[in-house]
């Protein structure tokens, strides 16, 4: 695995986390996005994430410098031509993923493996956009990638054993534990966590308890590191909603209906940590400042 040519497509939060994890493991990686500016923004994000780690005593400046030197930002998708492993980390929408995989399939060498980091979408459907469905596999990393020690390795209908072995080797290179998932909507982690987040939103909307108290109780009561509403804010409320809609669409069960409060907040553009406000308020560094007044409460006081 060391020396393997790796390329990540998509320099958003997931792409940044993966690039940082790969470089921290001592390997080099190319990070592609549509424009040089976007790729550079990815690099800036990685740098800021490592600065936070230095502040928490987890890293030194010289560690950071060596790690950053292993990440190459670019806007040239043609660099995937000779990559052995191509990792897709673009937004979780089937149409854009299919477009990208079709395009990369025509560029990349025939023996390279494609990894999609989708949290809910069908690997088999994504793979069908390529001429190499046996070499396509899902690896669902959770954010923040550098901190969460587990990854779901998702086999599509046609994924072959060699591809699976490459994925496990990649997971081990990053020092991640992995679980095997046979493709099914939502895999394991997304499917189990989404209804819980949704239910916490219902509890808040129905006025049962405050956002702070809901999170407080779930943290202390069940040993979670963060409460469900904070977790939803961290994931991005738009992302949580799109996952719920995907589960509803695929599994057609009432329990996957997104909470009306969630829909309302997404429509209002209150998407959580990334917009500075969700169920709680955040500063620019992403530190929680306190509870936000949510639309349901506002209506009550009016």
């Amino acid at each position: 695995m060391p020396g393997t040519k790796l390329i990540i497509i998509g320099a958003g939060v997931m792409g940044q986390g993966l690039a940082e994890a790969i470089a921290t493991s001592g390997n080099e990686v190319t990070l592609v996005d549509k424009t040089t500016k976007l790729a550079e923004r990815g690099i800036k994000g990685i740098s800021e994430s490592m600065n936070r780690e230095i502040e928490k005593w987890g890293l030194t400046e010289s560690d950071k410098k060596a790690i950053m030197s292993r990440i190459y930002p670019t806007s040239d998708l043609n660099l995937s031509e000779d990559a052995e492993i191509i990792i897709e980390a673009i937004p979780d929408r089937m149409d854009v993923k299919k477009d990208l995989f079709e395009k990369v399939d025509s560029i990349a060498r025939k023996d390279s493996v494609f990894i999609t980091t989708t949290a809910t979408l069908s690997i088999s459907e994504i793979a069908a956009a390529t001429e190499r469905p046996r070499q396509v596999i899902g690896m669902h990393f959770l954010n923040p990638v550098t901190k969460i020690p587990v990854v779901e390795i998702v086999k599509g209908l046609k994924t072959n054993d060699d591809t699976f072995a490459k994925a496990t080797e990649f997971a081990e290179m990053l020092s991640k534990e992995w679980i095997t998932v046979n493709e099914y909507p939502g895999f394991v982690t997304t499917r189990v966590i989404c209804p819980m987040l949704n239910e916490a939103m219902h509890v808040l909307m129905e006025g049962v308890a405050s956002a702070e108290d809901i999170d407080h109780a779930m943290k202390l009561g069940f040993g979670f590191n963060v409460g469900p509403l904070t977790l939803a804010d961290m994931m991005g409320l738009d992302v949580v909603m799109s996952w719920m809609e995907n589960l509803l669409h695929e599994l057609a069960e009432h329990k996957y209906n997104a909470c009306p409060l969630l829909r309302k907040m997404v429509r209002a553009g209150r998407l959580g940590v990334k917009t500075g406000s969700g169920f709680f308020r955040y500063d620019e560094e992403g530190r929680q400042l306190g509870p936000a007044t949510h639309p349901a409460e506002k209506e009550k006081t009016l």
Binding site: P2, K56, A66
Partner: protein, 400 residues
């Protein structure tokens, strides 16, 4: 046979090429400041001028490539073909309980070395990177791992056991291992030679003071106790390591600062010690300079550093029922006049007293800097871990 000795530290790679017929050093050098903007490769071939190359070298793999390249270079090199390097001896910090002697490296040894990373997070990964880089660059040369822990393997159980449930020792091999074995071994041998005695007649306290630092009590040639423990974190205050402290402190900090295990580990290994107290540097020369210029935290770091060493000398004199000589080695021990002076100040009850003038002029040469009326010798001895590694590498390759 020529043996290449590789010693990968946290921010440096030291190397020597030794012709084992006559133990003649063909070339030696060091890549320092790895990971910083101006890394320096210092290379000296025997009977040639030293060359110094400054460039950015970001990790140990790049460093080893540079070392092999300069050994082969037409201008500064000493060999014409990589095959002239018959074997590579690697310093490996932690051998755990698995390695009680040096080992020829194969796949199973590599696996075992990786398992040991947890025990020495600041060192073993760099040692392994050095091995991997050499396997890539010198695929035909045999590789041998020589461990820092082996010298201390004969320590009595009451010196190596910790005061925690015994079952944890059985389950995880949690015990004192000690480190810097090659250095303590080499300087104790040289000390005996300088005193014209056999090691079996002597009680020696060896202080290896480098970026990492440890003290060993060597009674009749056997290390009976040493300040580093389960990992190289225990004992003296070091460049960036905290050394001895109340273990409850780290639990308290973890809870107050909400640190993960990894962050707590890095805090103690990379952000503490002389650098952590002084806020100036992990380099003792810079700390002493700042202290002389009146920087109060630099002075505090220097005083704390020396006080810890003094305490260990006293403890080990008690453990051995006496001491015949105290040895100073390692970068700081060999060169720092101030550290030797502060450590040995007011130790005359023990019979340890320096000739201050001689101490002041002694740097990195074998010298007895004790006052003429002192009953305990104070020896400055430049260490030579590389020679110990080369000899062991030859012994294993020959015996194979």
């Amino acid at each position: 046979m020529n043996i290449l000795v590789i010693n990968c530290g946290s921010s440096s790679v030291k190397y020597q090429l030794i012709d084992m017929d006559g133990e003649r050093q063909l070339a030696k050098g060091m890549v320092s400041r790895i990971g910083m903007s101006a890394s320096v490769l210092t290379h000296k071939a025997a009977e040639k001028e030293e060359v110094k190359i400054t460039r950015e070298i970001l990790d140990h793999i790049q460093a080893i490539e540079q070392v092999v390249a300069i050994l082969l270079s037409p201008n500064h090199g000493v060999i014409h073909d990589v095959n002239e390097i018959g074997a590579v001896g690697h310093r490996v910090v932690h051998g755990g309980e698995h390695f009680t002697d040096s080992a020829v490296i194969d796949d199973s040894v590599m696996r075992e070395l990786r398992n040991l990373i947890e025990l020495a997070p600041l060192h073993n990964p760099h040692n392994i990177r050095g091995i991997v880089a050499c396997q890539r660059t010198l695929p035909d040369a045999r590789q041998v791992a020589v461990f820092d822990t082996a010298m201390h393997a004969k320590m009595p159980p009451y010196a190596y056991i910790y005061g925690i449930p015994y079952i944890l020792y059985k389950r995880y091999q949690i015990r004192r291992y000690g480190f810097h074995g090659m250095s303590h071994y080499y300087v104790s041998q040289r000390a005996a030679a300088m005193m014209g005695k056999d090691r079996s007649e002597l009680k020696i306290i060896t202080c290896h003071l480098g970026n990492g630092a440890s003290v060993a009590a060597i009674d009749s040639g056997t290390s009976i106790d040493t300040s580093m423990g389960f990992t190289p974190l225990e004992g003296l205050l070091m460049g960036t390591r905290c050394g001895d402290m109340d273990p409850a402190i780290i639990l308290h900090i973890m809870s107050r600062e909400e640190l993960t295990l990894h962050e707590a580990n890095t805090l103690m290994n990379k952000h503490s010690g002389v650098a952590g107290i002084s806020g100036v540097s992990s380099d003792m020369r810079e700390v002493i300079q700042a202290s002389n210029e009146g920087n109060p935290t630099a002075k505090l770091a220097l005083d704390t550093y020396c006080y810890r060493i003094k305490k260990y000398i006293g403890a080990y004199a008690a453990a051995m029922n006496g001491v015949d000589c105290v040895v100073f080695t390692g970068g700081v021990g060999e060169n720092s006049v101030n550290v030797r002076r502060i450590v040995c100040d007011k130790m005359d009850y023990l019979g340890l007293k320096l000739d201050l003038d001689l101490n002041k002029t002694t740097r990195a040469t074998e010298t007895d800097v004790a006052a003429s009326d002192a009953t305990v010798r104070a020896l400055v001895i430049p260490t030579n871990e590389e020679l110990v590694i080369a000899r062991d590498t030859k012994r294993l390759i020959d015996g194979d």
